[in-house]
């Protein structure tokens, strides 16, 4: 039995997906020996492995490949960009839960969770979770991967965790504007580090490299706290331009601008 893909965007790139056959063989081996799944599922996977698909269903377990996982992470990123932070966290709950080698309802990972492909997708998912934590004002129950109220201590710990994850990503790719801007978003939420955020985003702005509306939203807030109205209003205008149809969900508005 094969499941139809959920999105026409399944055309995720031949080149990216071309390793599927090899990874499926590895997956089948991993499943057969996994203590997490009954042996019948492993045997069924070997049978199902002959059929190419992003999502494989065998008995009552639906196996998710790394490619399907990547699609979910991309979906989460898109939701984050559009300002749907709660939706992004929901998608990440699924993707991260499975990528860590576990199960999610009837779903389980078909690929080896230790494989480099899965590790990269998982790392990207965790970075997105860190961004969601920052944009959700720290109000995310991280262990359960759910958006909602958390005590102040947990909130502060969430910000610190997000800064650590995004700071690490920035060190890995020191010239990548997306990594710089996201780290700056996290820094702006940590007491005493907003100046670092302003420097980083200001430098990107000077070079026309602020990657998205979110970067300008943070710049606007930082400028507002410094009572730099001209810089604030300019950042809001840029934010609105880059945000497009999602600007209302992303860009701040200030009393004096109304």
């Amino acid at each position: 039995m094969r499941h139809a893909p959920r999105s026409p965007a399944l055309a995720y790139g031949r080149r990216h997906l071309a390793k599927r056959l090899g990874s499926r063989r590895r997956s089948a081996r991993w499943l057969a020996g996994s203590p997490l799944l009954p042996s019948i599922v492993g045997v069924s996977m070997l049978v199902c492995a002959a059929v190419p698909s992003g999502v494989l269903a065998c008995h009552n377990i639906i196996a998710i490949t790394v490619d399907e996982l990547a699609r979910r992470v991309t979906q989460a990123e898109k939701r984050l960009t559009e300002g749907d932070t709660v939706g992004a966290v929901q998608t990440l709950r699924f993707a991260l839960g499975i990528s860590r080698g576990g199960e999610h309802g009837e779903y389980a990972l078909a690929d080896d969770p230790r494989s480099p492909g899965v590790a990269r997708v998982r790392a990207r998912g965790e970075r997105l979770l860190a961004v969601a934590v920052v944009r959700r004002d720290g109000l995310i129950d991280r262990p359960r991967l759910r958006a909602g109220w958390v005590p102040d201590g947990v909130r502060a710990a969430n910000f610190a965790w997000a800064e650590r994850i995004l700071g690490s990503a920035r060190r890995d790719t020191p010239d990548a504007p997306v990594a710089i801007a996201r780290h700056a978003e996290a820094l702006a939420r940590i007491p005493g580090r907003s100046a670092e955020a302003l420097t980083a985003l200001g430098e990107l702005d000077r070079r026309d490299l602020v990657p998205d509306a979110w970067g300008y939203a943070v710049l606007a807030r930082l400028a507002d706290t410094r009572h730099d109205v001209a810089a604030r209003d300019r950042a809001v205008r840029q934010c609105t331009t880059l945000g497009g149809a999602h600007a209302d969900a992303v860009c701040p508005s200030f009393e004096s601008m109304r």
Binding site: L17, A70, T81
Partner: protein, 441 residues
């Protein structure tokens, strides 16, 4: 991007050559046609002019055997420039499928790509995949082609195959490196070939044979009309299609083909290249020699010069990233400028590096990635969508550069998409309008 000369200038040169030959009873044979040095400037030396220069150069200038050092350097360069991404060669290991453009596209075209895609998606890919389905194998390339022509093609590619949309990409290859690569591909010395008669009657007979034997089924010769007559020999449909797509412009013969191999190539192509789809058409050596004389000496009608499309004004409406992504980035650009996280760190040649290029760090997978820019030659990241007054965004500049390259005007800035057809004026207009609108979501 075929090398061309103004029609009047080219015809005048040929007319002059003919008059001189007729008056002098000129009997220079192919054996006396020496090697042409690569033209320093593309577009300046049409095949006719090249043949003329060959005829005047001493015999001892023919191609000598490559040295072992040259061949070794060339083999190393073939690995560095990743020739095997597109071409097959007996000495090059086949790269994995995700770094093998030709193999991956061939599988997509057959619907056998082993990826996580359902039947409908596979069918969609099969319908859309067009490029890199027919790529010349390099294994026997040097057996019939001149080393100097190969070096020139590597250093400054131009369109040799009129029916093939893709061209050799403009790699960052120096003249010395191009020579070494050519030495690896064509290591053997050129032998002395017997002189061929090329009087007017012989050339007319050669032309008649070219028509009769159906050479025009696959080949063009500059701007000349070659009728597509049925081939004398049976050839299966797949080979015929491949033959048509890969058939080089016969106007290139005097600069491109080894003079000592031309007649044999026409008589029995598979004795030189067992992989070729070129059929053996001449019925005798005399016929092959007449055709060879025609291809070598007959005047060439310059091909009509293509022009750079007019730049269209910005669209009045707002253009979203989703539109640009669907119409441009996902179609042409994304294969080489993709997101590394989803392919074990490989973002394609245009992002994490490949084809001998250092990683530019450019992903075109999302609006924020595009706005993140690319590294310049000095490794400094710069915006590709900077929309300053009086400036053209880098992204638009490279798209326009590719349009110029196709019209024979290759400048320092490498055009994109690399080695693929230029974007239409309408697609460039869309990208430019998106940038003018702020390059947002």
């Amino acid at each position: 991007m075929t090398r061309r000369l103004g029609p009047a200038r080219g015809l005048a040169r040929w007319l002059a050559l003919y008059v001189v030959c007729a008056l002098a009873g000129c009997d220079r044979g192919i054996a006396h046609v020496p090697e042409v040095q690569p033209s320093p400037e593309r577009g300046a030396a049409p095949a006719a002019e090249a043949a003329e220069r060959r005829a005047d150069t001493p015999l001892d200038d023919v191609q000598r055997a490559a040295t072992a050092d040259q061949i070794a350097r060339g083999a190393a360069l073939a690995l560095r420039f990743e020739c095997a991404r597109c071409h097959a060669h007996a000495e090059l290991a086949r790269p994995p499928d995700d770094a093998n453009c030709a193999a991956c596209h061939a599988q997509a075209a057959r619907g056998t790509l082993e990826v996580g895609a359902d039947d409908a998606t596979q069918a969609e890919w099969r319908a859309h995949v067009r490029s890199y389905l027919n790529v010349p194998s390099l294994t026997f390339f040097g057996a019939r082609l001149r080393r100097s022509a190969i070096a020139e093609m590597v250093r400054a590619p131009h369109d040799v195959r009129p029916h093939l949309a893709e061209t050799m990409p403009r790699l960052a290859v120096s003249a010395a490196e191009a020579a070494d690569l050519a030495a690896w591909l064509a290591p053997r010395a050129e032998a002395t070939a017997p002189a061929l008669p090329h009087d007017a009657a012989t050339l007319a007979h050669g032309r008649q044979l070219v028509e009769e034997l159906g050479c025009g089924t696959c080949h063009e010769r500059g701007g000349e009309h070659l009728p597509a007559r049925p081939l004398r020999v049976a050839i299966d449909a797949e080979s015929l299609t491949r033959g048509i797509v890969l058939a080089p412009d016969l106007a290139e013969v005097p600069t491109r083909v080894r003079r000592d191999q031309l007649v044999q190539w026409l008589l029995a192509p598979r004795t030189i290249d067992p992989e070729t789809t070129m059929p053996a058409l001449p019925r005798s050596r005399a016929e092959a020699e007449a055709i060879a004389a025609y291809l070598w000496y007959a005047p060439i009608v310059p091909r009509a010069q293509s022009s750079v499309p007019a730049r269209l004004p910005l669209l009045a409406r707002r253009v979203t990233f989703a539109e640009v992504q669907a119409r441009v980035f996902r179609r042409s650009c994304w294969h080489c400028h993709s997101e590394p996280d989803f392919n074990e760190g490989d973002g394609g040649p245009g992002n994490t590096g490949g084809f001998g290029f250092a990683g530019r760090g450019l992903s075109l997978a999302s609006a924020s990635a595009v706005r993140s820019g690319a590294r310049d030659d000095a490794g400094l990241r710069r915006s590709i969508v900077r929309n300053a007054p009086g400036e053209t965004a880098r992204l638009v500049e490279v798209l326009l550069a590719r349009q110029r390259e196709e019209a024979g005007d290759a400048r320092a800035l490498r055009g994109m998409p690399l080695g693929l057809p230029a974007l239409s004026a309408e697609d460039v207009q869309l990208v430019e309008s998106w940038i003018a609108g702020g390059a947002g979501e």
